[in-house]
């Protein structure tokens, strides 16, 4: 489905007779100072991190003020409580512990007199089988490559996945979120289709695979869809639905993580 949309937009915009792009100046609003929470609990036996920051206006530089002095804890349904301590500013970390599949984790953040809470269930780990590369669908004439990830979806239960890709250690600016609505129980070959970074032979590509729960998937899927909005009829972009209450920007995700690296030829 993703590919279909991508192809249509690609064709509509780049095949038309005189398409061209330019950077423009726009007068945009001054939305700033809103709390952003990004919380992750992984299955790795390591410190876990929760980051608090604030948003800045579109026209500012990409530096985001950290939110210090918050009280951050995570508990699970097995009565474990993990306290997070700050350092560096705005980054809160726990002692080393692994998240366990099937556990429900609850994040509690107290800052500015408000208590923010979110729950996330760590899904079962679906093994990351492999990554491969192939000639890209478009612009393949100049050796452009496309990355495909492979895994065996678990039959009978809903699974959601998120992938993160780095090309030569630089994170690709695209969201990859998939579920098994159409591929339950299948051996899945998923192309990571994106148009921000070109991959060529010689590049080192690392991909992280996360198994995420449904609300976190909705968060990422919404962000991903917004990457392809058109001027008319496209989805009006909005802040993706957060699983944190009261609502803030960001999410809290308990997920499994695996990574694989490949050198593209």
């Amino acid at each position: 489905m993703k590919r279909f949309k991508f192809c249509l937009v690609f064709l509509a915009v780049t095949l038309t007779f005189a398409a061209c792009t330019k950077v423009i100046d726009l007068k945009l609003g001054n939305d700033s100072g809103k709390l952003v929470i990004e919380g992750n609990i992984t299955n790795l036996d390591s410190p876990q991190y929760i980051k608090l920051s604030r948003n800045v206006p579109f026209t500012s530089t990409n530096t985001y003020p950290p939110v210090s002095g918050a009280t951050v804890t995570v508990s699970d349904n097995k009565n474990n409580i993990y306290t997070f301590t700050e350092g560096p500013a705005g980054t809160y970390s726990s002692a080393q512990f692994p998240g366990v599949s099937g556990n429900t984790y609850q994040m509690t953040v107290v800052t500015g007199g408000t208590t923010y809470k979110a729950n996330s269930v760590m899904p079962a780990l679906v093994p990351f089988d492999s990554i491969t590369y192939k000639k890209a669908d478009f612009k393949s004439g100049n050796n452009r490559r496309e990355i495909t990830v492979h895994y065996q979806d678990q039959a009978g239960i809903p699974n959601q996945y998120r992938f993160i890709m780095w090309v030569n250690s630089v994170e690709v600016s695209a969201v990859f979120a998939y579920d098994d609505e159409f591929s339950d129980g299948r051996y899945v070959d998923q192309d990571l289709v994106e148009n921000t970074t070109d991959i060529y032979p010689g590049d080192t590509v690392k991909v992280e695979m996360q198994c995420i729960d449904k609300p976190v998937y909705t968060y990422w899927f919404t962000l991903m869809e917004q990457g392809f909005g058109g001027p008319d009829g496209g989805v009006a972009p909005s802040n993706p639905p957060t699983n944190i209450t009261p609502a803030v920007l960001g999410y809290f995700s308990a997920h499994t993580t695996q990574a694989k690296t490949i050198i593209v030829q």
Partner: protein, 774 residues
């Protein structure tokens, strides 16, 4: 039952108004050269100002007159007026053949007194396109197109550059009913909307109603575009066609039995592929991208009272990226109509109509192989009657039984694919309606056009039907057997228009009408996507309702050579539909759980100045409007501008006939940009810049403006054949109209973000077409 009683009592009421014995003059009006029936031609009695009528969709008219001697005046735009003296003693049939004006010379124009229909008719909110003008307005790549031409009229906005989608008085694009010989055309676009499904060669008449909706139309909130195909020349065989940059056309027409029956066959095929084959990209090089369409029609007149019309349309778009993916989509329609004239007062048309829209998306790569299909299928029975009760009352009434079959989606795959087979249950339902309207000429100044339409929807089993709460959770689920009633809705839609004539050259009109809509389009991807999903009103989706009031002032100048109108409207919208975040609509059995409902309001002023006649003709249309929507779940429950909210919209069209061989045309448009949602802030998530948003549609795309010019050179006159050249330049001053604005990390200044504008027609686009006829 109640409806029948109301009809009958209205008939009797109106019948009692018959004061004296009337004589009925009836007949048909057709083109002298081709035998094409003329729709909307005017019949007037010179001596009686309050008498008059127009021909219906089949060229038929019926007019009651008192006994005496009169002069009947028959007129039609672009044709020479005919005056016929009659001595009315008994009912009579008068068939008239009008001559098309060959030259637009000043002498002819004066002898052909332009009529004042726009002022005198009680109908408001209607625009009729003159096909001769459509053919002269310059367009992209020389593909003359009625959908693009209508957007040059006030109150009708283009959905975007190079897009045949349109918005009428603030309505969404799926709130327009598009009819081709009475059959619904669900997706009227080809090639991502750059071209429409209507091949101008095959079209006789185009009317669009944006307000004051006649009772015989219903089913959509905003507008009705009623397109009628040519019947075919019943005098002589002709072949005509054209060779253009991206498409070629051919039309054949002629008599089946001279003066009794004729046929018309018209086809068009594009070859946009050549642009792809010129590409250096190997994937694009081996790809297909084209569309074709075929219009066919035949008619046979058994005698003066019985005629049969059969017509059909078939169109297909093909887009295939070599060994990657392909998609096909298209409409097909078929209409069988039987006209019967019971007597010179009662005209009947019975129609059986078929309509289908379907699409297929296929991924050819073995590991991702899937084929998704979806379609909507309609069978429609219509009975329309027209009764000339007296010279002051003309009744129209009828019934409509429309059966929908919707196959929302099926995915088929193979064993190596990453996907499973999935199928979403088909949905069945009836949309039935009955209507009655009366055009009542109270006196020479006041005319009422009033009536109602009773519309209904019956959603039927078999299938499992769920109800959802606001959050999209299943509240209940029930399984129904085949034909079992799941949900029904009834709506009474009053339609009322009144006009007051100050003089032959000026009038005021006012109207109120309600429209409802029971079939809804769900498509949240870019408008270029053919993946249209239709759903009927259901347990979750209520019928959309629009109430519109409008009033207008109509004024003609210089013996009706110039027409001016100013209309004001206000619309209230209920049960409007939007999508929740992250809604995945394709092949989704729970698609109704992803919807959210709200209301809306739209209001505006439309100014229109038109010169219909003369060597120089054209129009200026201007619209000032506002459209706002309100959803509890969006924008904190506050009103926000709809995407199609367009403050200013200006179109200027000019056509100049220099001499017998050369004519020139030009159009200029200016429009406020669509309302869009832009980021107001940014933050970092997962190490990536992410944008934050405040209000929905709080920003505007930059305004757009463009000038196009065209010229037509008629070939030297030959006995046997005729040819012409059409030249055009689209976007003469190479204005960059923004198509898309995206936001990203700056590629030049590290650690900042930038807005990027994409334009698709940022340059002059010339075109040339050679047309022939023999």
């Amino acid at each position: 039952m109640r409806f029948v009683l109301v009809c009958l009592s209205l008939l009797f009421f109106a019948g009692s108004l018959l004061a004296q014995k009337k004589i009925i003059i009836s007949g048909t009006i057709e083109d002298k050269a081709t035998g094409e029936k003329l729709i909307g031609a005017t019949i007037k009695i010179k001596e009686l100002t309050k008498s008059g009528t127009t021909t219906n969709n089949y060229g038929f008219y019926s007019l009651a007159v008192p006994a005496g001697n009169f002069t009947l005046v028959y007129s039609y735009v672009g044709y020479n007026t005919v005056e016929t003296p009659i001595s009315a003693a008994a009912d009579q049939v008068i068939d008239i053949r009008l001559d098309q004006q060959k030259e637009l010379s000043e002498i002819v124009i004066r002898s052909n007194k332009p009529n004042n229909d726009n002022v005198a008719s009680p109908q408001m909110g209607e625009e009729r396109l003159n096909m001769a003008q459509v053919n002269n307005v310059p367009v992209l790549l020389g593909e003359k197109d009625i959908l693009k031409t209508i957007t040059l009229l006030p109150g009708i906005e283009s959905a975007g550059e190079g897009n045949t989608g349109y918005y009428v008085r603030g309505g969404a694009s799926d709130q327009n009913l598009i009819l081709l010989d009475e059959a619904t055309v669900y997706n009227a676009s080809h090639f991502f909307g750059f071209f429409s499904t209507f091949n101008s060669d095959a079209i006789k008449d185009v009317s669009i109603y944006k307000g004051g909706m006649p009772a015989e139309y219903g089913g959509r909130l905003s507008s009705v575009l009623d397109v009628k195909m040519l019947d075919g020349n019943n005098k002589d065989y002709t072949v005509e066609g054209g060779l253009g940059l991206i498409s070629s056309r051919l039309k054949v027409e002629g008599p089946i039995v001279k003066d009794k029956g004729s046929f018309m066959l018209s086809a068009r095929r594009t070859y946009i592929d050549v642009f792809l084959h010129a590409s250096s990209d190997s994937t694009l090089k081996g790809s297909s991208l084209y569309f074709y369409d075929i219009n066919a029609k035949a008619n046979y007149h058994f005698d003066d009272k019985n005629a049969l019309y059969v017509s059909g349309y078939f169109g297909k778009d093909v887009l295939e990226l070599k060994s990657i993916f392909g998609t096909l989509w298209g409409n097909s329609t078929g209409t069988i109509r039987f006209n019967h004239i019971f007597n010179n007062r009662l005209f009947s048309n019975t129609s059986l109509v078929y309509s289908n829209y379907n699409y297929t998306i296929e991924d050819f790569q073995s590991t991702n192989y899937f084929k998704a299909t979806s379609q909507i299928n309609d069978v429609n029975f219509k009975e329309d009657l027209q009764y000339s009760l007296s010279n002051t009352h003309t009744l129209k009434f009828g019934l409509n039984v429309l059966h929908h079959t919707i196959a929302p989606g099926t995915i088929t795959t193979n064993s190596t694919s990453s996907f499973n087979d999935v199928s979403v249950e088909e949905r069945y339902g009836y949309e039935n309606a009955a209507y009655l309207s009366d055009e009542w000429r109270l006196n020479s100044r006041i005319t009422f056009l009033y009536g109602f339409r009773l519309s209904s929807l019956f959603l039927l089993g078999p299938g499992t039907f769920k109800t959802y709460d606001a959050a999209g959770n299943v509240l209940s689920s029930a399984t129904y057997s085949s034909g079992a009633l799941v949900k029904d809705y009834f709506n009474l839609e009053p339609r009322f228009t009144a006009s007051y004539l100050f003089s032959d050259e000026s009038s005021v009109k006012a109207s109120y009408n309600r429209n409802t809509q029971n079939i809804h389009l769900l498509n949240n991807s870019t408008s270029s996507s053919p993946a249209d999903l239709y759903v009927m009103s259901s347990n979750n989706i209520k019928p959309e309702i629009a109430d519109q009031v409008s009033t207008g002032y109509f004024r003609n100048f210089s013996e009706n050579t110039y027409e001016f109108s100013a209309e004001v409207y206000y619309k209230w919208l209920q049960n409007q539909i939007d999508y929740k975040d992250g809604a995945q609509l394709i092949v989704n059995p729970d698609v109704e759980s992803l919807l959210t409902y709200g209301s809306g309001r739209a209001y505006g002023v439309e100014l229109f100045l038109k010169k219909k006649y003369g060597k120089f003709n054209g129009w200026i249309g201007y619209t000032l409007s506002r459209t706002e929507l309100k959803f509890a779940a969006i924008n904190d429950g506050n009103y926000f501008p709809a995407t199609q909210d367009r403050t200013n919209d200006l179109s200027v069209v000019g056509i100049y006939q220099l001499n017998e061989r050369w004519s020139f045309s030009s159009d200029f448009i200016y429009a406020t940009g669509n309302a869009v949602t832009f980021p107001t802030g940014k933050y970092e998530i997962g190490g990536l810049t992410t944008f934050s948003y405040s209000e929905r549609n709080g920003y505007r795309m930059p305004s757009s403006n463009r000038l196009d010019i065209g010229a037509t050179l008629e070939g030297k006159k030959h006995k046997k054949y005729h040819s012409s050249w059409t030249f055009g330049i689209y976007n003469v001053y190479a204005h960059r109209d923004p198509y898309l604005i995206t936001f990203r990390d700056s590629k030049t200044v590290p650690n900042t973000t930038e807005a990027v504008e994409t334009s698709i027609f940022a340059t002059r686009i010339p075109s040339v077409t050679w047309n022939f006829k023999f």
